[in-house]
Symmetry: C2
Subunit: 301 residues, 2 copies
DNA sequence: GTTTACCATGCATAAAATTCATGGAGCAAT
DNA sequence: ATTGCTCCATGAATTTTATGCATGGTAAAC
């Protein structure tokens, strides 16, 4: 393939559009002389003139006319493709469940934005998980899961550990309840299935029976929020209540922790692994949310 | 329009095709390091990697995959257009009537070819004239004409002057005939219309009557050739018989010359006036065939 | 463990692009 | 005609860019 001088072609394009070397120079931030030389280079390459120089103005020769649309189309094709892939390096859509979004990501999201102000990062909060990222609605996902799909890269953030918490206001001047006294308070279920409390009680060697008062919530976050408002005792994932414990909104009522078989992962498709936006967010998220320090090279686990 | 570095794009294209910087360098007659730097330039421009460097081999990132066809298509578009207009600067099709072709052009054609060995010049010999070059079968035409069409450039070569000639063999040891004795020989008509001889006789103040023996030919050339073989006396255009008179194949029988109202022109479409091939042939033809020295700037008459 | 095949990179050099200043050609208006 | 104006072309110097060379580093294969 023997191509003409490409930079000269771009200058030709602009000069042909303006019908003027001088104006083309202004557009390209070049002097008129530089434009003239580029056109000369191109004309020498083809061995024929592309412009008819007249005192009144510049005209294209038939060969210039023939060349013009080809160059215009070619460059706009390149421009379109460039624009498409440039956008992918500037945008990032992060998916998280409502609980993770509000308890993990949102509190520290501005920090990430501030560190990468050129990145247009958005948080997509959906329940449910498209396990192959087929919907292409998000680029990277915080996800609790047990199995791994091929084609995806998984970074384990932490295991899920549930401990009982409640607002200190729930007990007023009474002493905090022992495990055996939990049933005297409303028990808040972080999901509609009764898995957490029953497992936790089993772990503690207790049988609460069926007579306990209980509320079920859609998400872990809602149960924690309800607990912090004094509605009862909930099982909360440890990493989601660090702030509440620190500022006294919640108190932890037992050291017995329900360790589930699943863990929280940061997941993204393998083909996005080279995107700087994905790399930046991954490294930041691993440092922020992992319970183990990330490997030095920040590689996949 | 903000385009990526174009030369780097070409290097990218080759490297992507070869899946190797080293091989791309060989193809482009560059070192591997130069290729590496071009790719770096491009990746820096986009802010993302285009290749995944592995010890085993080079792979494109999804962004590289997206970029590749766009670059390939764009460059092949430019290449096609370049090829098309390059060919037009290397090829030239000259049209001439059979007479002009054989009497003017062919004898000196190799001289022109030798001067411009890179030019693929062909001679198209057709009778009839497409007055607007609409058929696009030829680029430049030798043509006898009286009127001028707009959009064409006319260079007057010479007026047409007809003089009577014959082979010296026709008369053997007899003296050459006077005008009055022409009718004793077969008169060769250079066209099927009886315009030339009747006009010439009228010019000479004679009336040949109808009883003369005559042959009509399709072209001026055929009549001259016939005359040179001793078939009779013909009227020949002066510029076409210079060689025959010089080497004695023909002798001129009178100084009375029929000057027609039309002249020979070299004609080409205005839009081809910038083609180097047209310019080269025009300048050569004017110097070779014009009865007046060409103007210094070789401008249209 | 050693070799091998690649790509990356610091440094020197070659090449190209660009500017600046100036010249010249064609039009338009006086 | 003459003058002025607007463009494009061009010589020479300079800056920028590309390239080569030699070397280093890494990961796979033997």
């Amino acid at each position: 393939m023997k191509l003409p001088p490409l930079n000269a072609l771009r200058v030709f394009l602009v000069a042909a559009e303006h019908h003027s070397f001088t104006k083309a120079g202004e557009t390209l931030h070049l002097t008129q002389g530089a434009v003239s030389r580029h056109i000369q280079t191109l004309e020498a390459h083809y061995g024929l003139p592309l412009f008819v120089r007249q005192a009144r103005g510049l005209t294209l020769t038939p060969e210039g006319v023939a060349l013009f649309p080809a160059v215009r189309d070619a460059f706009s094709r390149i421009e379109a493709a460039s624009e498409a892939i440039s956008r992918r390096s500037r945008e990032l859509r992060v998916k998280a469940s409502p609980s993770i979004a509000s308890r993990w990501v949102l509190p520290r999201f501005t920090q990430f934005r501030n560190r990468y102000p050129d990145l247009m990062v958005s948080l997509v909060t959906v329940t449910g998980f498209d396990p192959n990222f087929k919907s292409r609605e998000y680029d990277i996902s915080f996800q609790a899961c047990e199995t791994q799909e091929p084609g995806l890269i998984y970074h384990r953030l932490r295991g899920a550990r549930f401990v009982p918490v409640a607002s200190p206001d729930l007990f007023k001047d009474k002493p905090r309840p022992t495990m055996a006294q939990f049933m005297e308070y409303p028990l808040l279920h972080p999901s509609h299935e009764d898995q957490f409390w029953s497992q936790w009680f089993a772990l503690s060697g207790m049988n609460p029976g069926n007579s306990i008062e209980a509320y079920a919530f859609d998400t872990l976050d809602l149960a924690i929020t309800a607990a912090s408002r004094g509605m009862g005792i909930t099982l909360a994932e440890e990493s989601m209540i660090a702030d509440d414990l620190a500022n006294g909104t919640l108190v932890q009522l037992s050291d017995v922790a329900l360790v589930t078989s699943w863990a929280y992962y940061l997941i993204y498709p393998q083909e996005l692994a080279t995107l700087p936006s994905v790399i930046a967010f991954r490294d930041w998220a691993l440092a922020e949310f992992s319970d183990t320090p990330p490997a030095p090279a920040s590689r996949a686990q």
